[in-house]
Structures are given as C-alpha cells and as structure tokens.
Chain length 457, copies 2
C-alpha cells in the first residue's frame, strides 16, 4: 500500500491512457450466448449482421477470444478531447457519512453528452465512416446516447438520424436541441416515418414509447436507407468492449496509489456503463487473480436482473432485431411514465447476464425516491449534480459505506458516476416538490410481457 | 521553448495549484477609483461597507497593495473538488481553421455551476460562514452565479437567497431547480418582496428585469435581514482577486510547456472571468516584464467598454449601492429581451475599466448571431457546448486565428472558455431556427440612461 497522499481527483497522463480495449469475453469460461436470427432461431452469421451493423463492429461483436483490441489512433485522438476522466476520491462524502470506507468514483460526465456514452459513440461512428457510409441511425432514451452519437457524427461529418423515446422527447426538449446543434435529425418514437412505428401507433396510439420500440424504428431506417447502418449505445458486446476504457483508466489510476477496490458498484440499464467499469477487474476475477464484490444497481420500476428471466428474447418491440439471451422483462415491457431518467431497457447486456447467471456479480433494485435523496445528498457535498441513472450507484455506494460505519470495516468502494443530471431537472423538480412516485411493476405485468418471448431451448 | 509534445489537455497537479490569489491592483500604477457613498459622494469606509459585505471581504475589496493573498485551506480543499480546470490545446479547432496559430483555452465549465463563478462563490460563502452569519443574499442573471453560490452555501450549510433576473427565471426554469436542489430560495426580480422591487414594478410593471435591479433587491434583503450580508459574483475588486486562480493555473500550465500567449481573449460582462484570466499576465505587463495583447469581448447589445463612458455610476437600478467609477451604459440600461445569455450588466469592473482607460487592453463588441455561429463551429470540433457568454471569446479567438492564417503568423492565442451552454438551449434553439435577432441599442438610448449617472468630478 502506497503512502502517497491521494488527491481529490486522480488524472492519469495522456500517455498513460489505454491503447487497447479489453475484451472481457476472452476470459469468460462460459461465453455469452450468440445472437440468434429471429426467423430461423439459428446463430446470426457475420454476413447477416452486416446488413444492420458496420462490418468491423460485427467482427468485434462476434469476437469472444481476442483479449485486447487496439483502439485506432483517430479514436484515441478523440478520446483525448474529453478523457482521461477523473477518478475522484469522495473525501467529502466519506466525511459527511462518517464512514471508515474509502469511496472512489469514476466520473464520466465531463463532456457535452453528459455521460460515458461518447466512448462507444465515437468508436461506432469511426467504423461507419471508415466503411464509407453516409450515416447512421439510432435510438435514444434519456438522450445521452443520442447526444453522444450526434457529437461523434459532427466530428466525423457523418449524417445522424435519432429516434428518441417520445416521453423523453417531450420531457427533454433541450436534449433534442443539443442534438440539433450538432447537426442530427431527431424524431419522437413511435413515429409515422417507419412501418413498425405506424403499426405500434395503430395498436396503442397513446404510448409514450420505449427503447425497444425506438430500436425497431432505427433499425428499419438503417436497412431501408442506402448507405446507413444502425448503431446502439448499450446491450451489445461491442459496447461493453468500447466502454472498457472506463475500467482500464480506473485501474491505472488506482494502481498508481496502490489502491484496490473491495466493492465495485454501477447502475445497470442495458449494461454499458457497468460492463465498462468492471471489465478489467472482472477479468482478474475470472482469471482467479483477484476478487471483487460487484454490484449491479437497477430501478425497481425496470428490474431486469432481479425480476426478469435469463432467456432468449427480442431486443426490440418490433421483433425485427436479432434475439439475445439475456435477463429480460419481455420485449413489450415499458416502464411506467413516472419512471425518471434512463435505465428503462427491458433487457440486459448478454455479457453481464451470463456473468450474473454464473454468480460473478450481484444485483439489487432501488426505489427512485431513495435514488433522488441519495443524489441530493451527494450533490451537496461533492458538488456534482448526478444523472438519475448514476444516482442508482450512488444510493448503493452510500448504503455500503454506512454498513462499513456499522461494522467498522474500512472497505474501498469504487462506483461509476456515469453522468450528470443537467437535463433531468424535471425529475429533480418532481422530487423537490414531493410528487415523485415509486411505481413497481406487478408480477402479472412482467409475466405477461415475458410470455411473448420466443421459445428457444 | 520546450520540445515536449503538448497534450490536448494540460492538467497541473493538485500540489501545483496556487496557494494564494494574485491581487492585480498591487501592480497598477493608477489604482481603480474607490467606491463612493451614494449620499455623501465620499469614498466608502470599511465601516460603511461592512453593513453590506462581510468584514474580511471588505478588507480584500479595499486592499490595493498586497500582491498575494493566501487562499484559506478550506477554500483550497473546495477548489480541489473541481479544480484544477483543464487548459485545453484546441488542436481540432486549429486544424478546422487551417491556422498556423496555436489556440489554448482555459475551460472553467467542468463543475455543476457550469462556469468559473464557483471560484468566488466559495470564497465569499467561506468568509460569511467564518463571520458567523446565517446566510447571504445575491442576484443572478443567466443563473450561473446563483447556482455557484447555492453550491457553496450547501457545502458550508449557509442559507442562500437568490434574486434572479425575471427574464432568466422564465427562460431557465431548470437553473432555478438546480439552485433549489442545492437548498437555495429563488425569487424572480423585480419582486414584491422588497421596497425597491415594488417601486420598480410600480414604474414599469412589464419589465423583464435587469442585473442592476436584482442587485438592489438582494442588497435590501441583506441589510434588512439580521445575520445576512450581500455577495456579488462580478464587478467587485474582490471577485477579480478570487478569479485570479484561473489565470494563475493557466500560467502554471503554459509555463510547463514553455508556452507564452501573444493574445489573451475573454468575454466581458462585469469582468469576473476576463479579470481572473488575465490577472497574472497583466501583472507582468504592468511590471514591464512581458507584453500581451489583451482583448475584452462584449455583446453589441450591451457594449459598456466600447460605447459606455468612464464615469462614476450607480451599480444598481435602485441606486442604493456604493458608486463605482467604471465604463457604464447607465444604471437604468437594460439590454433588449432578445439578448441571450449573460454579459448583460450595465457597468464593468473598476479594475478592468482603469486598465482599459490606461490603454493596457482593447475591447471589441460582437453580434450575437455571429457569436452563436462561432459557438456551433467550436462545439462540432472541440466537443464542448459553450455558454453564449464564453462564445463571445470563441468568436474573437477564431477571428484572430483566421488573421494568422492570412498573415502566416503562428501566434499563440489563449482564451477563457468560462462555461457551458447546457442551460442556454432556448437561445440555441432560436439560433437554429433562424429567429435570433441582433438588437443594438441606439446612441439616444445609451445617452438617456447615462444622463442619470451622478455628477462626480
């Protein structure tokens, strides 16, 4: 253990930044199950996937064996504009809680997208540009991914079509305006611009939309427009790969001071932030070199890990995407409109799902009023106004730090502060006004949407 | 000149951060004129000022001779939560412009207030706390100062009453919500809660408010509430002192790489950001140790330097504050409601006013549509969505870099990127929709409001 005084913020140098992403799958004994063709129920081939995704991203998606994949120089140059992100020692939060625990957080909010999403957005946009495409299509929920992709596309001069979940589009007009400022077109989903959108609206004209539905529209727009491919900000293996930069930087920073986390905590929606944060640590755990307690935190209103099933399911409402084996609440599951912020996807990264299934990590679900209370406590002492998503991790980090206070254990806690809450002030206002509710789906609701999952083995 | 490769972002280490603020006045041959009592037209004494301001801040306000003033440890600890701020080499902007110029910007937006305002907010809140006060009152225009003060007060457990210029209060409901999240009370100004507010509303019921008016209300609230003092985010000498941390860090970072700016550019509203950025450089210039071209950039709709007069004037609409000798448009001047963002104060820091008067710096005014065009160009290549205020500096930095392209000169340009534009998306939307206008006040309008200035020497 080093005796060096640990600063509030540990920045690694630009030349210490990772040159390669770490591919967690290479160290998994049980690999994540392959994506399946929704028609044939057979594993998707690279050729099939290339109709939807860029070729090089398909290779990354299917690569379960290469441990390190080099980050192209152009992407590293872009990373240098907003990375390394700081690893912050939460001295003030520790003091406020009176805990013997040491709390660190990796803060990914110091860029205009306000979150970690930019790490994968620039990678996906880069490979699209390299392939000579005109543009990309995508969906966005809370708007962080859409903003990130708009920024990456503006930088590379690629066209960008974003389908934004209608409830977010209406609650977050400013998000739309940021994307527009970066030159993207933004359509509220479901929309009349796609066949799948028209069908969903015909069945349910008052729907506030869902990520699953927006994905269907974005995929349709990609396959029906010449020179476009679809990109996705979470769930996919390639996204966990790109996001490994979060964990790699965290580990380099901690190693500088001889620090090793006992507990690693991240919020989990589709798994991009959590998967990226834990990657190198989980790699050590899988290889038996170290042990870490890993905790995924999800909203009680969208509890894929804690109340979903580990089965093959559709990734989208329109059922046109490949099937993934994952913890899922059913592709028709839409969290109640009272649910604030992101983490609203019905499924979960197949990589994380397999690890959870195999006992390498835990999951807990938390109520959103508790999440916002933790967010405000954190904001007042640490300065940063956190995203509601990230605040799920804050809530559990505080809980663990309080447990340490009770037991007297000086554990080292690392959590992912994946983004800022500047665009979530309607939710903060509801919380401040005491009108925020805590919707929890019923067992029947979940069973009903799960019943539509395809029956595969 | 060092041969070290200059990274995209230069972070100085925590232990390299300044331990003292630099007091520019100590090196000025002609000191800024003293604040005057509005009743007697005699210089304000410390005792008189202490009715409005905290005692230790009064000392700092009046101290024209101490070159370095130590930053208390508690403030340095707070600074460590969000400082050092990065000094960014704008490689991508340089490339986009095809300029031989080297462009650097000091980015102060990486904190929840979204701007440099936190640097002085924590200092002023600290001295209020140290004096045993219950709380502080203030005004805010664009909302950055109010947010910063709310954050500082939440951290120190001080009460915080903010009077927010009505037009901003209405255009930026989220700003209000951030302040509320940090526990502040926020009142749109002019309001019925103060005598001066009631009087202004009686005379002009449809006013959208002004900084000058909000100042009057905040001062009245401070002097009529036991245990409260007034704090101000700009204009005052003490603010330029606290903000010197921006320039000091910039200089330390540049010195590491043997870099020396030829041109230093900052936006100027009340002068807090510009004054802070230029402080140590201007110190060298005043002492004859180095030369720098310093450019203040102001909006054409509120052109204090370029079209105002250098006279004693009221700092507030209600004419209850001390008088300051400064470049002013008259205390009744209210920029047109079409004017977006901050930089809407009728006056200017007495320190900067004196320096400008004595020929140590230049000033230019720019149209807001040009400012937003520069902002979007910058955002696309540098990633950061800039505040409209900061974009005034961007506009002129780009102009100077293009001049370098034309002349072939490889000048080094440093500008202040004082904040982010996340809360300014109504203005961006207007610009994107092509409905933003460029109001420029008439000579008559300025002459009319200047006619109300008190006649002193």
């Amino acid at each position: 253990m080093s005796e060096k005084k640990i600063p509030y913020k540990i920045y690694i140098d630009e030349n210490e930044m990772p040159n390669a992403w770490y591919n967690l799958r290479a160290d998994m004994k049980v690999k994540p199950a392959p994506l399946m063709n929704p028609g044939t129920h057979k594993p998707m081939t690279a050729a099939e996937l290339e109709g939807v995704f860029c070729s090089e991203l398909v290779q990354q998606e299917l690569d379960n064996t290469t441990r390190y994949i080099e980050i192209p120089q152009e992407i590293r140059d872009f990373y240098k504009m907003y990375r390394p992100s700081p690893l912050v020692r939460a001295y003030n939060l520790e003091k406020k809680l009176g805990t013997p625990a040491k709390i660190y957080y990796k803060f990914e909010g110091n860029n205009t997208s306000g979150s970690h999403k930019l790490n994968s957005a620039i990678a996906q946009a880069y490979y699209a540009k390299k392939q000579g495409l005109k543009g990309v299509t995508t969906e966005t929920g809370a708007g962080q991914w859409g903003t990130a992709l708009s920024m990456a596309c503006a930088y590379l001069d690629l066209d960008c079509k974003v389908y934004m979940v209608k409830v977010s589009y209406e609650q977050k007009p400013f998000r739309r305006e940021v994307m527009r400022t970066y030159g993207a077109s933004v359509t509220p989903s479901p929309s009349m611009t796609t066949q799948v959108g028209r069908q969903i609206l015909a069945e349910n004209p008052n729907t506030t939309g869902s990520l699953g539905c927006a994905i269907s529209e974005a995929v349709e727009a990609a396959v029906t427009n010449e020179g476009y491919r679809y990109v996705l900000g979470s769930v996919l293996n390639q996204v966990v790969l790109h996001q490994s930069v979060i964990g790699l930087e965290s580990k380099i920073a901690l190693d500088k001071y001889g620090e090793k986390p006992d507990i690693i905590i991240g919020c989990a929606g589709g798994g991009s932030n959590l998967g990226g944060l834990i990657s190198p640590f989980m790699g050590e755990k899988l290889r038996g070199e170290a042990d870490y307690e890993v905790i995924a935190v999800e909203p009680a209103s969208c509890p894929s890990f804690t109340r979903g099933k580990f089965v093959y399911d559709f990734c989208d409402t329109g059922m046109i995407c490949p099937l993934a084996k994952m913890y899922t609440l059913g592709s028709g599951f839409i969290p109640s409109a009272d649910h604030a912020g992101g983490l609203r996807y019905h499924g979960m990264s197949p990589v994380l799902s397999q690890l959870y299934h195999d006992g390498y990590m835990k999951a807990v679900s938390v109520k959103q009023t508790d999440v916002f209370a933790a967010a405000e406590e954190f904001a007042k002492v640490e300065g940063i106004l956190p995203a509601p998503e990230s605040s799920h991790a804050i809530k559990v980090a505080i809980d663990e730090a309080i447990k340490c206070k009770e037991t007297g254990e000086a554990k080292t806690i690392l959590f992912g502060l994946s983004g800022t809450g500047y665009f979530d002030l309607v939710a903060y206002q509801n919380f401040n006004d005491g009108v925020m509710t805590n919707y929890v789906p019923s067992d029947e609701e979940i069973a009903q949407s799960l019943a539509k999952a395809p029956k595969i083995d």
